[in-house]
């Protein structure tokens, strides 16, 4: 710090190191400059300062123990699902990156465990590895809703581009869960995984076209497809075997799978309905109805001729709708024009003659009048034909700023007598409760 000498004003002030104590001396006049500060600032004190740990001993920041445990759990999951090493390492790096994100850092351990599973799932999807969310949730024994929330948060925070796994990709792994080898269950019930998978894939494609798959949980759908595929591969011997017995024979699932099996049974019923609709169009059945219990015999033929049968079924459905609408129209016209029928009979015949050339346009217009759920043969099973809308009373035309009369408000306030009754009742209930507690005690 440069200072001027207070005696001669010279700036030529030097530190004198002759003695142990440093002093400031003016070179020109030799006077000793007084010390301005008896104490120095902390930054000037170099000796006897506390040295922090991270400056002296620590070489790198240590990982949080929960992060280390989470990484271990994640590696175990990757090994269970047989990930290749590059996918495992990318899952670990994704987990370490997400762990430090503010959304996941200060959360509960259960959420951090769900985060590890979410990273496994995200990496599997980025690499098109067939892995269902249900499998990860079952492995972690986590709450599905919590896991789903953490997974979606992970995708959002880390800006991941994942492709949702299709149901057909999950089929191969699913088929391996069934113990249906001939040496395990015998020749009558035995089936190769390859055949089972091929037939189940065709059934799944048909189900997807018929709106049974969209929006539904994949696992019950897969179970239903595999069960129907297994039945159809040897229908004579297996037609009478129900779904529950099939699960026992193939050693699939456990008691906890009860709800999933009930859902799978519903999917079986829906798929059989679709197969019956298509089975009716088989040429050698001549349009006779097919029962769901007997359709297993026809599955192979239906799947082989699927596209033709679908177009035939759609065409027959449209024709039946047209005939229904034309019948209702004719009945309506007959009722309305009955008194004038004798006079206008010649004009009616002229109209009927003109009808065929304009048939295509009138068909489209007739069909378009129907609700779309009736027009199509295959619709999502939860669609119901729209009910006729009730003539609802028009709601009050409010602006929000109308005056509110006292009379309307009085109806929401109890009278004094009602309040006395309520207080008396509450006291009585309280006394009864206390007496019961004393009696139990």
């Amino acid at each position: 710090m440069s200072r001027a000498c207070p005696h001669c004003g010279s700036g030529n002030v030097v530190e004198d190191d002759l003695y142990s104590e440093k002093q400031l001396v003016c070179e020109d006049c030799g006077s000793l400059l007084p010390e301005v500060e008896l104490t120095s600032t902390r930054t000037e004190e170099l000796q006897a300062t506390a040295v922090p740990y991270y400056e002296s001993t620590q070489t790198e920041k240590r990982k949080c123990p929960n992060l280390i445990k989470g990484c271990g759990r994640l590696r175990a999951l990757c090994r269970i699902f047989r990930f290749p090493s590059d996918m495992e390492s990318s899952a670990v790096s994704l987990y370490e990156g997400a762990y430090g994100h503010p959304s996941f850092l200060h959360t509960s351990l259960s959420k951090k465990e769900a985060l590890a599973g979410s990273c496994v799932l995200a990496v599997s999807r980025m690499n098109s590895w067939p892995l269902g969310m249900g499998s990860v949730v079952a492995m972690l024994e986590a709450d599905p809703a919590l896991f789903g929330a953490i997974y979606q948060e992970l995708i959002k925070c880390m800006n991941l581009q994942t492709v949702g796994g299709g149901i057909t990709e999950l089929l191969e792994g699913f088929c391996h869960d069934f113990k249906l080898g001939r040496d395990q269950v015998g020749a009558e019930y035995g089936e190769t995984t390859r055949e089972l998978k091929r037939r189940a894939l065709d059934l799944l494609e048909l189900a997807a076209d018929s709106w049974i798959v969209t929006g539904r949980q994949p696992q019950p759908m897969l179970l239903a497809a595999v069960y129907l595929a297994w039945q159809s591969l040897s229908p004579v011997k297996r037609m009478k075997v129900p779904l529950t017995k099939f699960c026992v024979i193939s050693k699939f699932g456990s008691v906890k799978e009860g709800e999933r099996r009930r859902t799978a049974q519903k999917r079986v019923v829906e798929m059989r309905e679709v197969l019956c609709k298509l089975g009716q169009e088989l040429p050698w059945l001549s349009g006779s109805p097919v029962k769901p219990s007997d359709v297993a015999v026809l599955v192979e033929d239906i799947l082989a001729l699927r596209l033709v049968l679908q177009s035939e079924a759609m065409r027959r459905h449209e024709q039946s709708l047209l005939s229904e609408t034309s019948e209702t129209r004719a009945a309506g016209d007959a009722l309305s024009s009955a008194p004038e029928a004798a006079l206008k009979s010649s004009s009616h015949s002229q109209v009927e003659e003109k009808a065929p050339p304009a048939g295509g346009h009138s068909n489209d217009s007739q069909l378009s009048e129907l609700p779309w759920a009736k027009r199509h043969l295959f619709v999502p099973p939860c669609v119901r034909v729209a009910k006729k809308p009730r003539a609802e009373a028009a709601g009050p035309d409010v602006t929000g700023d109308e005056d509110i009369s006292d009379g309307e408000i009085e109806s929401y306030i109890r009278t004094d007598q009602e309040m006395r009754y309520i207080v008396r009742l509450q006291k009585t209930l309280q006394q009864q409760k206390e007496e019961e507690e004393e009696g139990h005690g």
Partner: protein, 186 residues
């Protein structure tokens, strides 16, 4: 049907959530005793009050903050909130109706066709999110409108947004995207 044709879609507002403040402390036990159609929830520290006209349910906290749900239009929500404030005034509280605002509007709409959800999610990644194992509908978020749309395969959609105008704009924006993903079995 081409998306450029004028299509009249019925958007039905099913719920409007609004909040307002009374600027005074409210004694919940008094409201529970003297009010009709009132449920007292001491464990959560609030009182539920239901009005008949309009049909709304109000959650009342002792701090004076009130949330109203169940109205079917923004105007109904306002008249219901004002009616509630008048009711609290009659009960003896020095209520000032202030800071009223509509927080959330929920509406439903039905498309006249089925929607192929997987195709829609693929075409609109990453704005659209489809996880059939979690929820049967596709979730589509429009950031600038602060609206969330849930799309079901049957063609029904539910829209939540901060007001009715945003909800209507969201439907206008989503319709052409849905139209190109409708699927008919050939």
């Amino acid at each position: 049907m081409e998306p450029s044709d004028d299509v009249a879609l019925d958007i039905t507002v099913t719920n409007v959530v609004s909040v307002f403040r009374t600027r005074c402390h409210l004694n919940l036990r008094t409201i529970a005793l003297e009010g009709v159609n009132v449920i007292y929830k001491p464990e959560t520290g609030k009182v539920l009050m239901k009005l008949r006209k309009p049909r709304i349910t109000a959650s009342i906290w002792s701090s004076g903050k009130i949330i109203c749900t169940g109205a079917t239009s923004e105007e109904e929500a306002k008249i219901g909130a004002r009616r509630l404030a008048r009711c609290l005034q009659k009960l003896g509280f020095k209520v000032r109706f202030s800071d009223f605002r509509v927080v959330n509007v929920l509406a439903v709409c039905s498309m006249p066709f089925q929607i192929h959800l997987i195709q829609f999610a693929k075409n609109n990644r990453p704005i659209a999110s489809y996880e059939p194992e979690l929820h049967p509908a596709v979730t589509y978020r429009i950031k600038h409108l602060r609206a969330t749309i849930q799309i079901f395969s049957t063609g029904s959609i539910t829209i939540t947004g901060p007001n009715v105008q945003n909800v209507a704009s969201a439907v206008e924006q989503i319709y052409p995207l849905l139209h190109e993903c409708q699927k008919a079995l050939k």
